[in-house]
């Protein structure tokens, strides 16, 4: 799920960046620092969308660097138990398959793949229904349901299932 929230961060800036571009410099450094990172509390920071407020700078003793408390708006992504996600399959093996939804790593074990889909080894390992009509392989897009999440300091892990109505392949990479 995506959220638009306000976060705060103390930014340190070298005096050379002071002047009329100070604010721009702060913003670009902020984007470089936080976009793409993951926090256990909020999930994955997708994009900084705006600055709410830049507080008064505080000069650090002995260095000349200045610390600014910056309040910024950003879009974060965090998966939740019960959420339906669309993800791209990255690896298929006899244990199940791994998929990614942005930075989120999702594992769907073969226990949670419908029983009528069987693992086929070979050059392109895949799960296929007995009539061959549905196939999951690397690069397939699947719709899955999250049944467990763990948000680490740097990574987000999820357990997913496609053993439910309306879940499974939504696009087959071989059928273009």
């Amino acid at each position: 799920m995506f959220f638009h929230i306000v976060l705060e961060r103390n930014m340190q800036l070298h005096p050379r960046y002071f002047g009329r571009n100070l604010r721009d410099n702060l913003v670009s450094k902020l984007m470089k620092d936080v976009e793409g990172t993951c926090s256990g509390r909020h999930g994955f920071v997708v994009a900084v969308t705006g600055i709410e407020n830049v507080g008064k700078g505080l000069i650090r003793d002995g260095t000349g660097f200045v610390t600014f408390p910056v309040k910024y708006q950003c879009v974060v992504f965090r998966p939740f138990k019960g959420e339906i996600l669309e993800a791209v399959v990255t690896m298929v093996n006899k244990m199940g398959f791994f998929a990614e939804a942005g930075p989120v790593q999702i594992f769907v074990s073969n226990h949670l793949i419908p029983d009528d889909m069987e693992f086929q080894s070979g050059d392109i390992p895949n799960y296929t229904t007995s009539d061959g009509s549905v196939k999951i392989q690397k690069d397939s897009e699947v719709r899955l349901k999250i049944i467990g999440t763990r948000v680490d300091a740097t990574e987000i892990f999820c357990i997913g299932t496609i053993k439910d109505d309306f879940l499974g392949v939504i696009n087959d990479p071989t059928a273009i």
Binding site: K94, F107, H111, S121, I146, G148, I159
Partner: protein, 446 residues
């Protein structure tokens, strides 16, 4: 670039009160599984009904003044705790059960980091996967083959260990742009040079038709993956099948426990027997490939390295070509005998039988072999099917000695029996074929 270094020591973000509210909102309302109160609910089954009723009642009292939400949440939890109890938690990903999503303690089971970071499986699940995989594999007429890297498929050296007679190699390395054509590579960023063993590409191509192949090395993961890229640039053979020392369950040992294949269907190629203490019956011992001088020295050889003498192992008749023939025989024997059910067959038994045919009909007597070396040689000869006697008799076919002057050696010459060096047995053991005796005749010492 002052600000670059600054980025690393800049203070961590400060959470405003609004973000705290947000996190609390998420944890409390949406993400029921992360709060610890859920785990408490699961405990104490006997008491739980009473406790839950009590809880629901106490919540009902509060409910009058608040919303209806908490009651519903608690009822859902009660239902789910039943479901959770049934799950055997066959494995985990990111410390969550792969079946029910429940958070688990990280320590049980075997890690399969070489397949995916954060993946662990428990013994029962491993054996379940092995069983289903075995059937699939046998349908495709394949077995498992575990391949060592160093001295088996290739030889690597640190660039700084190249000696003056080897530096000419620096100008002969192959392009890293298309590694599929080359065999000598300089990996500047790893400070290494790697030489692939002659015939290795044909070997892998042929072997992949008969086996599902794994790399298993005592090197670390970055090295292992880099070597896999050189050996398999197209990713045809080894994708998520590269096992390094970071993946093993025991120090200085390689084990088949991290392999999702049944031991009765696994063959191993390795130059180091001691790494496989528990799986010697699966092992085909490889003659070591020493291309670089540093590698020779490491194993105590004083002879010139292949690189120094500007030569190499034979492409058509080297160790890998010879072993490929053995693999073909083992594979053929395993699948083409129709006596028993395939699933009941054991490749270790096949290996043992084939090995025992190599020297069948040979009757050996050892003469003045160093005491410490004798038991190993004798065992080797017997595994190859030879009969070892302690005293001479007319049935003897070979006398194994290092000296022509011993009584038994002189007898051999007089009786026109083969008088061979112990290396004849070792070479026969490496190549699974009786080696021509004339290449190993014992010569007079000068």
């Amino acid at each position: 670039m002052a600000q670059m270094s600054l980025a690393t020591d800049s203070p961590s973000s400060v959470h405003s009160s609004s973000s705290d509210d947000f996190a609390a909102f998420l944890d409390g309302t949406l993400d029921g599984n992360s709060s610890s109160d859920r785990e408490e609910e699961i405990e104490n089954d006997a008491e739980s009904a009473r406790v839950k009723r009590h809880k629901v009642e106490s919540i009902k009292e509060i409910e009058a003044s608040t919303s209806k939400g908490p009651v519903q949440k608690n009822l859902v939890v009660a239902e789910e705790s039943l479901k959770v109890d049934i799950c055997t938690h066959p494995g985990s990903f990111g410390n969550m059960c792969i079946c029910c999503g429940q958070k688990l303690d990280g320590e049980s089971g075997v890690t399969f980091g070489y397949i995916h970071k954060g993946l662990r499986l428990h013994d029962q699940e491993i054996s379940r996967l092995r069983n289903t995989d075995m059937k699939d594999l046998l349908c495709h007429k394949k077995l498992y083959l575990v391949l060592d890297l160093d001295h088996t498929l290739l030889n690597s050296t640190l660039l700084m260990d190249l000696n003056s007679e080897e530096v000419h190699l620096n100008t002969q390395t192959d392009s890293l742009k298309d590694v599929s054509k080359g065999s000598l590579f300089k990996l500047e960023y790893m400070h290494m040079m790697t030489k692939l063993r002659p015939f290795v590409r044909t070997f892998l191509k042929e072997a992949s038709k008969m086996f599902e192949m794994y790399i298993y090395t005592m090197g670390d993961r970055p090295y292992a993956l880099e070597m896999a890229k050189l050996l398999d640039p197209g990713g045809e053979y080894f994708t998520s099948k590269v096992i390094s020392r970071d993946d093993g369950t025991q120090k200085h040992q390689k084990g088949l426990d991290v392999l999702l294949g049944q031991e009765s269907a696994v063959l191993i190629l390795d130059d180091t027997e001691n790494a496989w203490m528990k799986h010697k019956d699966n092992l085909i011992l490889m003659e070591r490939y020493h291309f670089f001088a540093s590698s020779c020295r490491q194993f105590g050889f004083n002879c010139k390295s292949l690189a120094e003498s500007k030569s190499d192992e034979s492409e058509a008749d080297g160790a890998l070509a010879k072993i490929l023939k053995v693999l073909k025989r083992v594979h053929h024997t395993f699948f083409d005998e129709h006596q028993e059910d395939l699933v009941d067959r054991d490749v270790r038994q096949v290996l043992k039988t084939i090995r025992s045919e190599v020297l069948s009909g040979c009757v050996l007597v050892f003469s003045r072999i160093v005491h410490s070396a004798l038991p190993a040689l004798q065992k080797m000869a017997e595994q190859l099917g030879a009969i070892c006697l302690t005293e001479l008799d007319p049935s003897v076919t070979h006398v194994v000695a290092t000296d022509v002057g011993t009584e038994k050696s002189r007898w051999a010459v007089k009786e026109h029996k083969f008088l061979v060096h112990p290396r004849w047995i070792e070479a026969t053991n490496y190549f699974w074929q009786k080696q021509p005796e004339e290449d190993f005749f014992v010569k007079k010492k000068e």
